[in-house]
């Protein structure tokens, strides 16, 4: 059996198939990356709504809370299906890839919002008080004091989440998106052995994810571990 698989290897790694896999890997990476970038932006808006004190923001605050608490408790596969069939039903002519991008963005917004909120809350209230008595506006306090101090606490976990999410995007194959897992399925249906194809796909995921995960823990040591919130100077 093993010799049979080894004989299959040269046939599998033709230029055409390698390009297919590389393009798929790029899609896998961009699904998570786009999701996290959009998630970071929307997550910021959501956590700002949740941290606001003024009564006029309370409805928004409640909505933000519901969004975060609900979306973090729905399987990615189900969210994907809701958007997939929702687009069909509403006659919204979107490609599977666009639907997958929307789904990853919607889901990661909920998770990243929680990270952002935790980071912003970790800034000591006395820092904001000091700004307030010097007549900083809400915006100036946020931009000059709160955000710069929260940023080193937010970035490492968001990056970790991005790496974690790369693996969840495998589910986008169920909506027909041509990412790594789907590429594996295509090669499998072309007649290559499932064990060889999926092992290859596993290794490709590992090659993408492992260095990023290592970089993530480096980032955490470099930014998170230091209690300093100031920019680090080059050593």
């Amino acid at each position: 059996m093993l010799s049979f698989l080894i004989a299959e290897i040269p046939r599998l790694f033709t230029i055409y198939n390698v390009i297919l896999l590389l393009k798929a890997a790029l899609t896998t990476l961009s699904l998570s990356a786009v999701g996290c970038v959009v998630g970071l932006f929307c997550g910021f808006l959501l956590s700002l709504a949740r941290l606001s004190q003024r009564p006029i923001f309370w409805p928004l605050k409640a909505l933000a809370l519901l969004y975060v608490e609900i979306l973090r408790r729905v399987p990615f596969l189900i969210t994907l299906m809701i958007f997939f069939f929702g687009a069909q039903v509403l006659g919204f002519n979107a490609s599977a890839l666009v639907i997958a991008f929307i789904s990853t963005s919607v889901i990661s917004t909920a998770f990243v919002a929680e990270i952002v909120r935790a980071g912003l809350r970790a800034v000591k209230p006395s820092q904001m008080e000091a700004a307030a008595v010097m007549n900083f506006s809400a915006w100036h306090t946020f931009w000059h004091v709160r955000l710069p101090q929260a940023w080193p606490l937010i970035l490492p976990p968001v990056f970790s989440y991005f790496v974690l999410f790369i693996k969840d995007t495998a589910l986008a194959s169920q909506a027909g998106v041509l990412e790594l897992t789907q590429a594996g399925k295509i090669l499998n249906t072309k007649g290559f052995s499932a064990s060889l194809v999926y092992a290859t796909v596993l290794i490709l995921y590992f090659i993408i994810s492992y260095p990023l995960a290592r970089f993530g823990s480096y980032l955490e040591r470099r930014l998170g571990a230091s209690r300093h919130s100031r920019p680090r100077r080059a050593v």
Partner: protein
């Protein structure tokens, strides 16, 4: 007209009355110190004046204008005139010393950057930190941070400065350098409201001393009276205990 005029001020914190009818009038250029046991409401009074805790009753008037703490504009105007130095310094951790001092004058008060920088450097030199302009707060000792905080407050060009136990977080060896800085301000004829446990310092620098307990000013008078011939039994007990050792 009094520079700072406080009438019947009441403040509550978590349903506990921490200020229970404060009347206090401070003239321009006067230095008033608040002393008393911890929990007597001294620091709370400074927080209420600076608008960090809204009062439940009573009024605070600054240079003749009553501050409406519910109105942002009124609060802004009052905060333009006063500055506060916190017990825990509260320097911005993400900014170096010079930026800590310059940020509010430049970005909030919109003053000319070059002028502010010159003033900030002069102030920092005055408090003995001319060589620490590029240091970050966490690289400084407590005493150094506290002096930066004082320079930061002064760079706002306040009419009145509130000092909240500026020496209590410091090592005994560091207390002297901060107190010297404050004495320098006293010589500059600035209105100061000081909360302090340093009785020797209070006695030396203040024009008047107010003894607070249970959210009220129990006794007020010149230092000689408060420390020498206190009228109230509670003041006597407090002063003799403090000065006893």
């Amino acid at each position: 007209m009094a520079h700072l005029d406080i009438r019947g001020l009441v403040a509550r914190y978590n349903n506990a009355t921490v200020l229970d009818g404060i009347d206090l009038s401070i003239e321009r250029g006067e230095i008033v110190s608040l002393i008393g046991p911890s929990g007597s409401g001294k620091s709370t009074l400074l927080r209420v004046i600076s608008g960090l805790l809204p009062p439940r009753a009573g009024t605070v008037a600054l240079a003749g204008e009553t501050i409406n703490y519910a109105d942002r504009r009124s609060l802004r105007r009052s905060r333009d005139k006063l500055a506060i130095v916190f017990q825990q310094y509260n320097l911005f951790g993400n900014m170096n010393v010079l930026r800590n001092v310059m940020v509010a004058p430049v970005t909030i008060q919109k003053r000319d950057k070059k002028t502010v920088e010159a003033e900030a450097c002069a102030l920092l030199a005055k408090v003995g930190l001319a060589d620490k302009l590029n240091a970050y707060p966490d690289e400084l000792s407590g005493g150094q941070q506290q002096r930066v905080a004082i320079a930061r407050a002064l760079c706002l060009k306040p009419d009145i400065l509130l000092l909240d136990e500026v020496t209590s977080a410091l090592d005994p060896e560091r207390v002297g350098e901060v107190l010297d800085t404050v004495k320098m301000l006293a010589a500059d004829n600035m209105t100061l409201l000081i909360v302090s446990h340093e009785m020797g310092f209070v006695r030396e620098v203040s024009h008047r001393v107010a003894f607070m307990a249970d959210g009220k000013i129990q006794e007020m008078g010149p230092p000689a009276q408060i420390f020498g011939t206190p009228q109230q039994p509670r003041t006597q007990a407090f002063v003799s205990r403090i000065l006893g050792h």
